[in-house]
């Protein structure tokens, strides 16, 4: 009799904590939405004093160039190698350009560039904002009648949103070049066929533009997560560190989930 009561007690505890968890998650979601709306409301300064945003584009975008382009190059080269290995078995080695270009432009470019951006730029944005919070710099700013969301948070958000599509395009472009390097220069696929088949099969509106839209959406998601995690961090060393981890993990999940949703909308057989 007492055992059964103990068992049902544990069940009740489990359900209560589940309920709490769900309520917590909903509360956070609500808070995050309110935060996003406030951010949009206070974005005027990011554009009126464009220099704030330019500074952030430098730190998020320009300083990510190296990792983006090197990664793009390597992925393009690997695509070239793997693609050739499989295609030449069916005598279709000349479609290598198509394979490399479509893989990059539709998927790998936006997704991998966004993942790299989240781990490099996103985490440093979270760290910056989190540390400013922990050392009371945000409070000090607020007490000096300067809105910290307008001055610190919004420019970093917009800097990320502007940088992301550019980085994705650079990733894809260097990737295509990498594929060209391996396929044409090293392996010997016909150069003319490589480019002409690519041009014939890659449609701007369907493929390239979809990739651009994807990277834009990813940019919004990653930048929002990065600034939110920083702003919401607990003002301690562990708090900031935990928020940085949160940025990287949540960004990755968001990117992959959004990719699935967007791909299913965009790349349907009509």
């Amino acid at each position: 009799m007492s055992d059964r009561r103990q068992g049902s007690g544990k069940l009740v505890t489990a359900l209560t904590s589940l309920g709490h968890g769900v309520t917590e998650a909903l509360l956070r979601l609500g808070f995050a939405t309110r935060f996003f709306l406030m951010l949009l409301l206070w974005s005027g300064q990011s554009f009126r004093r464009i220099h704030l945003t330019i500074r952030e584009i430098y730190f998020s975008g320009f300083q990510s160039l190296l990792i983006i382009m090197v990664s793009g190059l390597f992925i393009g080269m690997v695509l070239g190698m793997q693609g050739y290995e499989t295609l030449q078995r069916y005598g279709s080695a000349e479609a290598l350009g198509v394979l490399v270009a479509l893989s990059l432009v539709r998927e790998l470019g936006p997704v991998v560039a966004a993942l790299l951006f989240a781990s490099r730029a996103g985490s440093s944005i979270t760290a910056e904002i989190g540390l400013m919070k922990a050392t009371e710099q945000l409070t000090a700013m607020d007490m000096m009648a300067v809105n910290p969301i307008a001055r610190v948070v919004a420019p970093r958000f917009w800097g990320g949103v502007i940088s992301m599509p550019l980085l994705a395009a650079l990733f894809s472009a260097t990737g295509v070049f990498g594929g060209y390097l391996i396929g044409v220069v090293f392996i010997g696929v016909d150069e003319g066929a490589f480019w002409s088949q690519m041009q014939a099969s890659v449609d701007f509106r369907y493929d390239v533009w979809s990739g651009i839209v994807k990277s834009f959406v990813f940019g919004i998601a990653v930048s929002l997560i990065a600034v939110f995690e920083g702003y919401d961090a607990l003002p301690t060393a562990e708090g900031v560190s935990s928020s940085i981890k949160g940025t990287v993990v949540k960004s990755a999940l968001a990117i992959l989930a959004l990719d699935f949703v967007l791909t299913s909308f965009m790349f349907r057989e009509v």
Partner: protein
């Protein structure tokens, strides 16, 4: 980091990004070719469109002159109605033939335009009267077998 230097590097970054986008659009994709600014639309009816899809090319003499913009079913005549968007630079006679062809042996299907000799040209929203449906493999095979069976045991 002085403002001027910052602006410089950001300018470099944005320029690089836009160049990459341009590269993707023009060199990798077919933006230049696909930007038909001036186009007109005509319709053609087929008994069977086979594997023809929207966005399939419309070619004449092997050159791409347009795209398939829509495929519908006419429930009165039980035929497929295909909308073609043709580049405004090219005019075709009213008695042009529209055929559904296959690229290569087992490739994608496209529409081929075989111009006729009429002096009057096709205008926007005209209907192409002469069409040839897609070749359906099963029909071909059953025809072949039927013919073979019809020939029968004559050649002995």
């Amino acid at each position: 980091m002085s403002r001027k230097l910052l602006d410089l590097w950001v300018g470099v970054f944005v320029a690089l990004g836009l160049a990459a986008l341009l590269f993707l659009a023009l060199k990798v994709g077919n933006l230049a070719a696909a930007s038909f600014s001036d186009t007109y639309s005509v319709t053609a009816k087929f008994a069977n469109i086979g594997g023809l899809k929207v966005r399939a090319p419309v070619k004449s003499a092997g050159v791409v002159v347009g795209r398939v913009s829509g495929i519908h079913f006419d429930s009165e005549s039980y035929e497929a109605v295909v909308n073609l968007t043709i580049d405004g630079r090219y005019r075709f006679p009213k008695d042009t033939f529209a055929l559904i062809l296959t690229a290569g042996l087992l490739g994608e299907q496209y529409i081929g335009l075989d111009p006729g000799g009429d002096e009057a040209m096709l205008k926007a929203d005209d209907v192409i009267a002469k069409t040839q449906s897609a070749v359906v493999l099963e029909t071909l095979i059953s025809q072949f077998m039927f013919n073979k069976a019809a020939e029968g045991p004559s050649e002995k």
